[in-house]
C-alpha cells in the first residue's frame, strides 16, 4: 500500500509501498529461493533426487515481487520452473525438499515431485508439467473468485515459451471478455528450452500481445524487484477492483540450463555472465541498503539464517519416511463416506 507522504520520485516504488519488515522478508525469500535451488542442485548431484528439475536461479525478483501484494486467499498458478513461486507464496522448505526426495511428508506425498509441487493452503494451485497448462486453470480460479465473491485475485505465472501455446490465447481472451480478477505474469527469460523468443515468437515484446485482448500490458525489468512489484501491484489492484486482467512481462534470465539435461549450446557464456551481473538479489540488497532499510551485517545474517533453514529442510526431508508402495494407487479418486 503506497505511503503517499514518501512519494519522492527518487525513491523506488517498493520502498515507498512496503514497510521495512516486508522488504526484509522479501529479500530473505529471494535468498531462500536461491539457496533452496542450490541445495536441490546439490542433492540432485548426490543422487538424492530422481527425475529432472528446472531451476529459477536468476529469476527470484519476479517470483517474490509478483507475490508481494497477495494474501493467502489469493491464488497463484505456477510452472515447471516453479520453486520460486512456491517459496514466494509462503511454502515450507522442508515439505518442498521432502517432495523432491519423494517422501510421504512432501507437499504431494512424493507423488508429484518438482514439477507438481503445490501448496493449496497458501493459495498455490501448483506447478504444472504442461507448458501453459496452468493458464486456463488460473482463469478458472478467477472465475470462482468472481462468482463466489471472495475478492481473491489470481496471479498466473508462465514463461515466454508458453505464450505461443493456444491455451495462452484462449485463456487471456476469456479472462478479458469476462473481466476476471487475474494477473498474467510472463517470465520472459529469453528462451523456451533452447529456442529464443526471436526464433519462436512473432512479436518483440510479449506484453504487446495484451492489446490483442484489450488488456493493459507492461514490460518491466524482471530483475528489478521494485519494478516488478510496481507493475504487478497495480495489476492486482486493478483486478481486485473489478477492472479485469492485465499482462505483465518480467524480462529476466535463468542462469542454469533449462533442466538437468541441457548442454547450453544455444547461448553463450558471455550472455550468461552479463545477466549474472544483473543479479536480482544483489540489486535488491543494494536497494535496501541504499535506502537504509538494512545494513551489510543484517544481509549477512539473513544469508546465514537462510542457509541454516535450507539445511534443516534437507535434514527433515532426508529423515522423512517414503510412501508405502502399497499406497501407490491411493488418491486417484476421492474417498467418499459409504452411501
Amino acid at each position: 500500500m503506497p505511503d503517499s507522504t514518501a512519494s519522492d520520485r527518487n525513491v523506488p516504488y517498493a520502498i515507498r509501498a512496503y514497510a521495512p519488515d516486508q522488504l526484509i522478508d522479501a529479500l530473505r525469500k529471494m535468498y531462500l529461493i536461491r539457496r533452496f535451488e542450490e541445495g536441490a542442485e546439490d542433492s540432485y548431484t548426490r543422487g538424492l533426487i530422481h527425475g529432472t528439475m528446472h531451476l529459477s536461479i536468476g529469476q527470484e525478483a519476479s517470483a517474490v515481487g509478483a507475490c508481494m501484494s497477495l494474501t493467502d486467499d489469493d491464488k497463484i498458478t505456477s510452472t515447471h520452473r516453479g520453486h520460486g513461486h512456491c517459496v514466494a507464496k509462503g511454502a515450507d522448505l522442508g515439505k518442498m525438499f521432502a517432495e523432491f526426495f519423494g517422501k510421504e511428508t512432501g507437499y504431494c506425498r512424493g507423488r508429484g515431485g518438482s514439477m507438481h509441487i503445490a501448496d493449496v493452503e497458501k493459495g498455490n494451485l501448483g506447478a504444472n508439467g504442461i507448458v501453459a497448462g496452468g493458464i486456463p486453470i488460473a482463469v478458472g480460479a478467477a472465475l470462482s473468485a468472481k462468482r463466489l465473491g471472495t475478492g481473491a485475485v489470481t496471479v498466473c505465472f508462465f514463461g515466454d515459451g508458453a505464450n505461443n501455446e493456444g491455451a495462452f490465447h484462449e485463456a487471456l481472451n476469456m479472462a478479458s471478455v469476462w473481466k476476471l480478477p487475474v494477473v498474467f505474469v510472463c517470465e520472459n527469460n529469453r528462451y523456451g528450452m533452447s529456442t529464443s523468443t526471436e526464433r519462436s515468437t512473432a512479436v518483440k515484446s510479449i506484453a504487446d500481445r495484451a492489446a490483442a485482448y484489450s488488456m493493459p500490458g507492461e514490460r518491466v525489468d524482471g530483475n528489478d524487484f521494485s519494478a516488478v512489484t510496481e507493475a504487478v501491484d497495480a495489476a492486482v489492484a486493478r483486478a481486485r477492483n473489478g477492472d479485469g486482467p492485465s499482462l505483465i512481462e518480467n524480462v529476466t534470465y535463468r542462469w542454469r540450463g533449462h533442466s538437468k539435461s541441457d548442454r547450453n549450446r544455444y547461448r553463450t557464456k558471455e550472455e550468461i555472465a552479463q545477466w549474472q551481473e544483473r543479479d536480482p538479489i544483489a540489486r535488491m540488497a543494494a536497494m535496501l541498503t541504499e535506502h537504509g532499510i538494512i545494513d551489510d551485517a543484517s544481509v549477512a545474517a539473513i544469508e546465514k539464517n537462510v542457509e541454516q533453514a535450507v539445511e534443516a529442510a534437507i535434514t527433515f526431508a532426508k529423515d522423512s519416511p517414503a510412501p508405502r508402495v502399497e499406497d501407490a494407487t491411493r488418491d486417484v479418486y476421492t474417498p467418499r463416506a459409504a452411501a
Binding site: K75, T77, G106, Y107, C108, R109, G110, R111, G112, H116, A118, V120, L125, G126, N128, G129, I130, G133, I135, P136, I137, A138, V139, G140, A141, A142, L143, S144, A145, R147, L148, T150, G166, A167, H169, E170, A171, N173, M174, V177, W178, R330, D331, V332, Y333, T334, R336, A339
Partner: protein, 336 residues
C-alpha cells in the same frame, strides 16, 4: 435409483431429463454453473440447455468463446476452487482439442498433489453418428477417456439414467465425463420428478435371459433390446445388460450374467478396435467366468473407418439390429 419421497413419474425426453437435472442442480446449489458454446440464448446445439439461461442468467449459464481447450481448463480451475461447473462440448469430437486439460489436469491433479484437492467437474459430450454430420461430428471417443485413471465415464441410455447419472456426477467429488448419444436426445421415457441419483459404476440388466448375454452401451442398448425381442421368436433368450458406466466397469453384473449364459456378445458404436467391447471381452476372458464360456466372445463395433456422410454408408459402418440378431443367433447355436 435412489429417489426422494413425493415423486411423480412422467414421460419426458432424454433432453428434457438432462435439462431437468441441470435445473435442479442450479436451483439447489449456487456453486453450479453451466459453461459451453452457444448454451445460452441458442439453447445449445442440441437444445439441451434450452431456456435455462432465462431462469439463471448469463452468469450461471455461460456461453464460452469457441475455445475448447481454454474453456475446459477454466472449468477445471473453477472446480478446483469452489465452483461445480458442467461443461458442454458442442460435439464430443471437439474433446480432441481439450484432452490436455481433461487428461493431464482434471484426471491427475488430485493424484499428483497427493490427495490435497479434488476436481468436481462434469463434462458432457454429445456423441455418435446417425445425423449426417460426417466424420468430424460423429465420433464415439468414450474409450479414450475410459483408459484414463482419475476420470469416471458414463453413457446413459435412457432419460431416467441421463438425469440420474448427471445428478450423481454432480454429487461426485471427481471429474465425471458423460457421453450422450445424439440420437437419444429425442427419445422419451419414464422419468421421476425431483432429485434422485443413478449410481455411477453400476450396470443394469435391461432384460433377463439365459442363452446369451448382450452387453451394450448407449444407443446400442435399444438396438440390443429390439434384437432380443426378435430373437425370442427363435426361442433364444438374450439377457441385455446396459453397461451405463464404462469407467469404473461393473464387473460383477457382467460376470454373473456370463456365468449364467456362457455366451457373450458386446455391442457398441465406437470403432471396434480398442472400443469398450475390447475391455469387456478381456475382462471376462481373464475372470473366473472364462470357464463358463461355451463359445468365443463376439464383438460388434463400428467399422474400421471414419463415419461417412452418405446415409446408407453411415448406417453400414455401425452395428444395426439385424447384425445383432445374426451375431446372437450364431452365438446361441446349439444352446437353446
Amino acid at each position: 435409483m435412489n429417489a426422494q419421497a413425493g415423486i411423480e413419474v412422467r414421460e419426458i425426453s432424454y433432453t428434457q431429463a438432462i435439462r431437468e437435472a441441470m435445473d435442479i442442480a442450479l436451483s439447489e446449489d449456487e456453486r453450479v454453473i453451466l459453461m459451453g458454446e452457444d448454451i445460452g440464448v441458442y439453447g445449445g446445439a442440441f437444445q439441451v440447455t434450452g431456456d435455462l439461461v432465462d431462469k439463471y442468467g448469463t452468469d450461471r449459464v455461460m456461453d464460452t468463446p469457441i475455445s475448447e481447450l481454454g474453456g475446459a481448463g477454466v472449468a477445471v480451475g473453477a472446480a478446483l476452487t469452489g465452483l461445480r461447473p458442467i461443461f458442454e462440448f458442442q460435439f464430443s469430437d471437439f474433446a480432441t482439442l481439450a484432452m490436455e486439460q481433461i487428461v493431464n489436469q482434471a484426471a491427475k491433479v488430485r493424484y499428483m498433489l497427493g490427495g490435497a484437492v479434488s476436481v468436481p467437474v462434469v463434462m458432457r459430450f454429445p456423441a455418435g453418428s446417425g445425423t449426417g454430420a460426417a466424420a468430424q461430428h460423429s465420433q464415439s471417443l468414450e474409450a479414450w477417456l475410459g483408459h484414463v485413471p482419475g476420470l469416471k465415464v458414463v453413457q446413459p441410455a435412457t432419460p431416467e439414467d441421463a438425469k440420474g447419472l448427471l445428478l450423481a456426477a454432480l454429487d461426485d467429488p471427481d471429474p465425471v465425463m458423460i457421453f450422450e448419444h445424439k440420437l437419444l436426445y429425442k427419445m422419451k421415457g419414464q422419468v421421476p420428478s425431483g432429485r434422485y441419483t443413478t449410481p455411477i459404476g453400476k450396470a443394469m440388466v435391461r432384460r433377463e435371459g439365459s442363452h446369451v448375454t448382450i452387453v451394450a452401451t448407449a444407443i446400442m442398448v435399444h438396438k440390443a433390446l429390439e434384437a432380443a425381442k426378435a430373437l425370442e421368436d427363435d426361442g433364444i433368450k438374450a439377457e441385455v445388460i446396459d453397461l451405463r458406466t464404462i469407467r469404473p466397469l461393473d464387473r460383477d453384473t457382467v460376470l454373473e450374467s456370463v456365468r449364467k449364459t456362457g455366451r457373450l456378445l458386446c455391442v457398441y458404436e465406437a470403432v471396434k478396435t480398442l472400443g469398450i467391447g475390447a475391455e469387456v471381452s478381456a475382462m471376462v476372458a481373464e475372470s473366473d467366468a472364462f470357464d463358463f464360456l461355451d463359445a468365443p466372445i463376439v464383438r460388434l463395433g463400428g467399422a474400421e473407418s471414419p463415419i461417412p456422410y452418405n446415409p446408407e454408408l453411415e448406417k453400414a459402418v455401425v452395428p444395426q439390429v439385424p447384425d445383432i440378431i445374426e451375431a446372437a443367433r450364431g452365438l446361441a447355436k446349439g444352446r437353446t
